[in-house]
């Protein structure tokens, strides 16, 4: 069960009408290393991870949904007032013919989201290492998105999201350390 707060985790302000950036931001919306993939991955793996780190996966997954909401806000702000001509000029014609100006879970190239992006191996170390990799890839994606715009307001929100990937990566690394710890070793043989 969740409690929803009707506000964003971090403010999203878009200072420049750059419709092409909306298309690029979709990489973090419905891309392989995007927020949807992250949220669904952790929320599913949590069931079969050792009890000590279940809460960590649940919490991080929940935060990823909050990030998804921020990305959606960015995309929506950039596209809601775009004319069809502007959408077409910015490479969003294929999106328009399928979705109008609706948001859709697809990556920056228009490839729809698939569960094949995520895994639940059942092996806690395998799953946590995937999670660490996912955080680092998402961090890199944010870096390249920050590189692709000179809108300092948008950059500000993206820098916040990049920092959160760093924190999540450390937390998953700590989860590995917890599971490695000899506390859980078998004492009766």
């Amino acid at each position: 069960m969740w409690v929803y707060e009707k506000k964003l985790q971090y403010p999203v302000r878009v200072g420049k009408c750059d419709i092409g950036m909306a298309k690029l931001l979709l990489e973090q919306y419905g891309g392989a290393d995007g927020e949807l993939a992250a949220a669904l991955r952790y929320m599913n793996q949590r069931y079969t991870i050792p009890d000590k780190v279940i809460g960590l996966l649940t919490d991080i997954s929940t935060e990823e949904f909050a990030h998804l909401e921020m990305i959606a806000t960015m995309v929506f702000k950039l596209t809601k007032d775009a004319t069809v001509e502007e959408l077409r000029a910015n490479g969003l014609a294929p999106h328009y013919v399928a979705h109008d100006s609706a948001l859709f879970y697809e990556n920056a190239s228009g490839v729809p989201f698939t569960a094949a992006y995520i895994q639940a191996k059942g092996d806690p170390i395998a799953d946590l290492y995937e999670d660490i990799a996912a955080e680092e890839k998402a961090r890199a994606t944010y870096q390249w998105l920050i590189d692709m715009t000179d809108d300092v307001d948008l950059q500000d929100s993206l820098k916040f999201l990049r920092e959160r990937e760093i924190i999540h990566s450390l937390r998953f690394r700590e989860a590995v350390e917890i599971l490695k710890d000899e506390q859980g070793k078998r004492t009766v043989f």
Partner: protein, 96 residues
């Protein structure tokens, strides 16, 4: 043990009491430049090496940002803060 990385934008006070681990958050290398490359070369390439790489487990009692600063930075702890500057407008000079 206290950790304190040195992202350039940190105030001194944020690091008070911390041991400077003296790692940089960006690494550079100089790639091979061929004599017949078609485009003007980028002499130096950079990549990120943020704090989580240097901290196996976060130690307790790290210095903290004020709540307002923490919200802006995306983390409560200066030791975990990682600045990133856009490459937009930097041309071929990725960084110094």
């Amino acid at each position: 043990m206290n950790y304190c990385p040195r992202p350039q934008q940190l105030s001194k006070s944020a690091c008070k009491g911390g041991i400077d681990l003296n790692f940089t958050q960006e690494k550079t290398y100089t790639p091979f430049i061929g004599p017949f490359d078609p485009c003007p070369p980028i002499l130096t390439k950079t990549f990120s090496t943020p704090p989580q790489l240097y901290m196996r487990f976060q130690p307790p009692n790290l210095p903290q940002f004020s709540p307002q600063e923490a919200l802006r930075h995306g983390t409560l702890w200066p030791a975990l803060y990682s600045p990133y500057e856009s490459r937009w407008g930097k041309g071929r000079q990725t960084n110094e």
